[in-house]
Each structure stands twice: as structure tokens, then as C-alpha cells.
């Protein structure tokens, strides 16, 4: 009897703990809007746009971040920003109309709470999606329907990594934006960038040179700069030495600060083989990137397919990004078979 009572009490306490950790049921309760009816965003939420957007099947995306008053992001590790407890991040997806808004909140030193909110058709309300997500929610192209991610999908990109807020980083927010970045979004006056963050003291312990020299990917040509930026945003959040996939040995994330290390793409992808073999390739191993030959590069093959067991990225997209694919093909073709093209003679920032 005592045991059952205790169990009930423990269950109640635990349920309260879950309720405290779980994000609100409605997007309007997360603090995004000052006036939910008119979708007016609260002025305390900072609007931003990464210079290399992640491809999301053509969704028009908007992003905001909230930092609690008096706090700052610790950038003492330039590539691994540490956000203050209470940070909130939103990303809105529009496919003709608002479809979903994803949300993250840092609830303790080591924990983020996440949710995605699904908009009704007349865009008057957005309700937290079920944990398993919603498959094939809305049509985004002939025969293709957008999935609202489930909790395990969110975890695939965000959980357990040191970098959990993807797209809000020194390189992505650099004022020295790449004019050749595929699907670059227009910058509006209300947006913050790295320089703004430094000026407003919202970054602590950052490299001092960021104030005068915002990060830029070193490259031998504008095409290479854009290609490396594209790989950074679309592949590098998983394919990086800081993630649980580091053992795969393909590193496509660009460092924000100058580094003595060799370029990660050249060191791990150009003329490097991986586990994946191109269909019909009888060689010892297909190159991830074969200079001068995009058709024999597994990176291109996997970008160009939406076969669910071969595609890259493996989730979050059902439509090939033709503009991004063309850029990567052009870059690899231009290597002319000489890997040194992306090697030693790097353009000075």
C-alpha cells in the first residue's frame, strides 16, 4: 500500500518534470510573437540568416534567436559556441504558406528542449507535432510531400553533438557574405550578423579579429568558395570531427578561425575513398570526390539521388537541389584532375 502510494507520488513528480521540460503546446506560447494574431515577432527575438542556407526542398525559411537579457554566447571555442541557458531558436518553413515552425530552447547547461509546431491551413495557430512527426504532410512538388520531423529525426541532426544550433555560427553569420551561395536569402536591415553580435556584446571571448575581419572560406576561386560553403552547410553538420560520425573520416565542415590544419575537404574527400561504392564501379573504392570527374564522385552521386537508401543528406529532403548540385559538379569539373587546385595556393581573405 505504502509502495503503491509512493509510486503514484513518484509518478506525479516525474510527470511534472516532463511537463516542465516539454515545450508548450502552442507556438504562440513560446515567446516568438508579441502579437500572435498578426504574426508580429517580439523585438527581443533577433532575426538572422545564414549565408549558406541548408536546402529544405525549396522552403522559404525565417529564423530568430532569443538570448536572455544580460547574457552572451561564449565563443571561446570559435566553432563550438556555448549558448546561455534560456536561449530560444525558431525556424519557420513556408511552402506557399506557413507549414511548420521548429523550436529549440536551452533548458539547462547541457539540455535542449525541442519541438516542431504545425500550422493550420489558415495560419491562425500552430500546434506541437506528435513525437513521431507527421509523414507526407503537404505536397511540395509533384508526387513529393513534406515530412514534419519526429523527435528521433530532430535528434539525428541536433542531439548529442557539441554544435546544436546549426546555422548560427561565425562563418554563417559573417558580414563578408558569399554572393555565389546557392539559395542565399536577402538580408534585411533588422537582421543580426556576426559584427552586430560583437558590437552588442552578445558574444564573449571571441577571437578579436572577428570585429575587423569576419570569417571567410579561403578558396582559389569564387566557385570553390561557394562549393565549400555549400558542403559546410548541407553536409558539415554531421560530417565533422566534432560529431559522432567523425569515425567515417569525411570532414566537410569549414573552421571559422584560421587554422594550420589542411583543408578538411581536401584532406578527407578529394581523392579519398569511403565505404560507399558507385554502382558498377569495380575499382578498389570509389572516390568521394574525383577531381575533374563529377560523374565518378560519390558525393555527387548521392546528392543527385533521392533513392531513400542512398540519398544525401539522408533526411530532411525529398527533392534534389539542382542549383547546389550544379555548383558542386562545376567545381569538381574545374579541378581538371589536379587536386592542388584546392590545396596550397589559397586566396588570401
Amino acid at each position: 500500500m505504502v509502495g503503491r502510494t509512493w509510486q503514484r507520488a513518484r509518478g506525479g513528480i516525474a510527470a511534472m518534470a516532463v511537463a516542465a521540460l516539454a515545450p508548450p503546446l502552442h507556438l504562440a506560447e513560446t515567446g516568438l510573437y508579441s502579437d500572435p494574431a498578426s504574426h508580429r515577432v517580439d523585438e527581443r527575438n533577433l532575426h538572422y540568416s545564414p549565408q549558406y542556407p541548408l536546402w529544405s526542398d525549396g522552403a522559404v525559411k525565417s529564423r530568430w534567436i532569443f538570448l536572455p537579457a544580460g547574457t552572451a554566447i561564449d565563443a571561446s571555442s570559435p566553432d563550438l559556441w556555448d549558448f546561455p541557458v534560456g536561449t530560444k531558436v525558431w525556424k519557420e518553413f513556408v511552402f506557399g504558406r506557413r507549414v511548420e515552425t521548429r523550436y529549440m530552447e536551452k533548458v539547462s547547461r547541457e539540455k535542449w528542449s525541442v519541438a516542431t509546431y504545425v500550422w493550420n491551413e489558415d495560419e491562425t495557430d500552430a500546434v506541437r507535432a506528435p513525437d513521431e512527426g507527421i509523414r507526407n504532410h503537404v505536397e511540395i512538388a509533384p508526387g513529393k510531400r513534406h515530412d514534419i520531423p519526429g523527435v528521433s529525426d530532430c535528434a539525428s541532426c541536433h542531439e548529442g553533438e557539441q554544435v546544436q544550433v546549426l546555422g548560427f555560427s561565425a562563418l554563417q553569420l559573417s558580414r563578408d557574405r558569399d554572393p555565389g551561395a546557392p539559395h542565399a536569402e536577402p538580408v534585411t536591415p533588422d537582421m543580426v550578423d556576426l559584427t552586430t553580435l560583437v558590437e552588442r556584446n552578445l558574444l564573449a571571448s571571441h577571437p578579436p579579429e572577428w570585429a575587423s575581419h569576419p570569417p571567410r572560406i579561403p578558396a582559389t576561386s569564387p566557385t570553390e568558395r561557394s562549393a565549400l560553403g555549400y558542403l559546410h552547410a548541407n553536409c558539415g553538420s554531421c560530417h565533422d570531427r566534432s560529431t559522432s560520425l567523425s569515425s567515417i573520416g569525411m570532414l566537410l565542415r569549414q573552421p571559422a578561425a584560421a587554422s594550420d590544419r589542411p583543408d578538411p575537404v581536401r584532406a578527407t574527400a578529394v581523392r579519398h575513398t569511403g565505404k560507399f561504392q558507385l554502382p558498377g564501379d569495380a575499382s578498389e573504392g570509389s572516390y568521394r570526390i574525383e577531381p575533374g570527374n563529377p560523374a565518378r564522385s560519390t558525393v555527387v552521386f548521392r546528392m543527385a539521388t533521392r533513392n531513400p537508401v542512398r540519398q544525401m543528406p539522408p533526411l530532411g529532403t525529398k527533392v534534389v537541389d539542382q542549383e547546389g548540385l550544379d555548383l558542386i559538379r562545376r567545381w569538381i569539373s574545374g579541378m581538371g584532375g589536379d587536386p592542388r587546385l584546392i590545396a596550397h595556393e589559397r586566396e588570401k581573405p
Binding site: 516525474a14 528542449s113 513525437d131 535528434a155 539525428s156 557539441q162 559522432s244 567523425s246 533513392n307 537508401v309
Partner: protein, 192 residues
């Protein structure tokens, strides 16, 4: 009597909370108790039913334990699966129990031995746990395919998953490169 919070509540906490730093890639804990617990779980959860190739023994089909948990044999290329008529009989299984064809395409059971190139030798404990929790290769890659019951196994505790990983790291490494799975569109292409 269990005085702890229910497993459902614990799971709720797990799935709603994103932990910070990545787990260490250190060697698994090889404490005998933990490895023994992992061995027990791997056996009773029927991992060998699909991940160990079956052979015909004197008493009928049986798992070939000389190839324990090494997945579909690379030396056993298969023809396209037979077409199945519309209806309730939807799944075809190779005699080895390591290749399955169904509405999802064709799946080949993976090499779970610690071979570094063809098995899970380079996987971290976190990769293993994430694979089962998220239903994706290494937690981030392509989806795990039927008949892998990850949707049920994801309810395992972290401790049990880590014990299974610890045990799998102790079994003999067998070099066996399992074929990539096929999607339905691959089968349509091959039947043209």
C-alpha cells in the same frame, strides 16, 4: 517492487532532452558483468535470427555460428527477389535469413562483428545507442529497414544498449562486406 519512475516517463525525459557534449569514443566498458548482460540480451532478443547466416544442419536449418552476427554473406549474391502477387503474402526471405524483400525493397542484415572495415569496429558506443534510438545508421544515416525491430528496441534502457555494444565488441571480428540495400525503385529498374 520498483520505486523508480516508470520507463515511459524516463523515455519521455530522454526523448525530450538533448544532451550536450558528444559521448566519449573510448573503448566500451568490458566489465564482465556488463559483457555478460550484453551477451544475454543479444541472445534472447534474437539478434542471431537475422544477423547470423543460417545453414542446413542435420536437424534442419540452424544459425551458422562460425559466422556469428556477421550479416548477409558477401559471397552469397542474390538474384532479384521473386515477384509476389498482390495480397497478404508480402515478404520473401532468403534461406540464410539474412536477406529480406518486402514493400520497402530488399534489406541485408548488417555485420555486427567488430571488424573495423565491414562491421561496427569503428562505431562508438554513442553510434550504437543512437542507431537504435533514432532508427538510423549510426543515428544519423539512412533509415534502418524492416524487419529490424528498432521501434521496439528503442525502449531499451541506455544501460542495456551499452551492455549489448560492450558484448558485440568482444565477439570475433569477421570480415564480410554486406551489400547495400535496395529501394523499391531499384527493383523496378532491375525488372525492366
Amino acid at each position: 517492487m520498483n520505486f523508480g519512475p516508470s520507463r515511459q516517463v524516463l523515455l519521455g525525459l530522454v526523448v525530450l532532452s538533448f544532451t550536450g557534449p558528444a559521448a566519449s569514443a573510448a573503448e566500451p566498458d568490458r566489465k564482465p558483468d556488463r559483457v555478460a548482460r550484453g551477451e544475454y540480451l543479444v541472445k534472447v532478443m534474437a539478434c542471431n535470427d537475422c544477423h547470423t547466416p543460417w545453414k542446413m544442419g542435420k536437424d534442419g536449418p540452424e544459425p551458422d555460428m562460425s559466422r556469428m552476427l556477421s550479416g548477409h554473406p558477401e559471397t552469397m549474391p542474390l538474384p532479384p527477389p521473386p515477384r509476389v502477387a498482390e495480397g497478404p503474402w508480402a515478404i520473401v526471405v532468403a534461406a540464410s535469413m539474412t536477406a529480406w524483400s518486402g514493400p520497402w525493397g530488399v534489406s541485408y542484415t548488417r555485420n555486427l562483428t567488430p571488424d573495423p572495415d565491414t562491421g561496427i569496429g569503428k562505431w562508438t558506443e554513442q553510434n550504437f545507442v543512437d542507431s537504435i534510438r533514432n532508427g538510423k545508421i549510426m543515428g544519423k544515416g539512412r533509415p534502418l529497414l524492416p524487419p529490424m525491430p528498432w521501434i521496439m528496441y528503442r525502449s531499451l534502457t541506455d544501460e542495456d544498449l551499452k551492455a549489448m555494444y560492450a558484448y558485440l565488441k568482444t565477439i570475433p571480428p569477421l570480415r564480410n562486406r554486406v551489400p547495400e540495400p535496395l529501394a523499391p525503385e531499384d527493383l523496378q529498374a532491375s525488372s525492366r
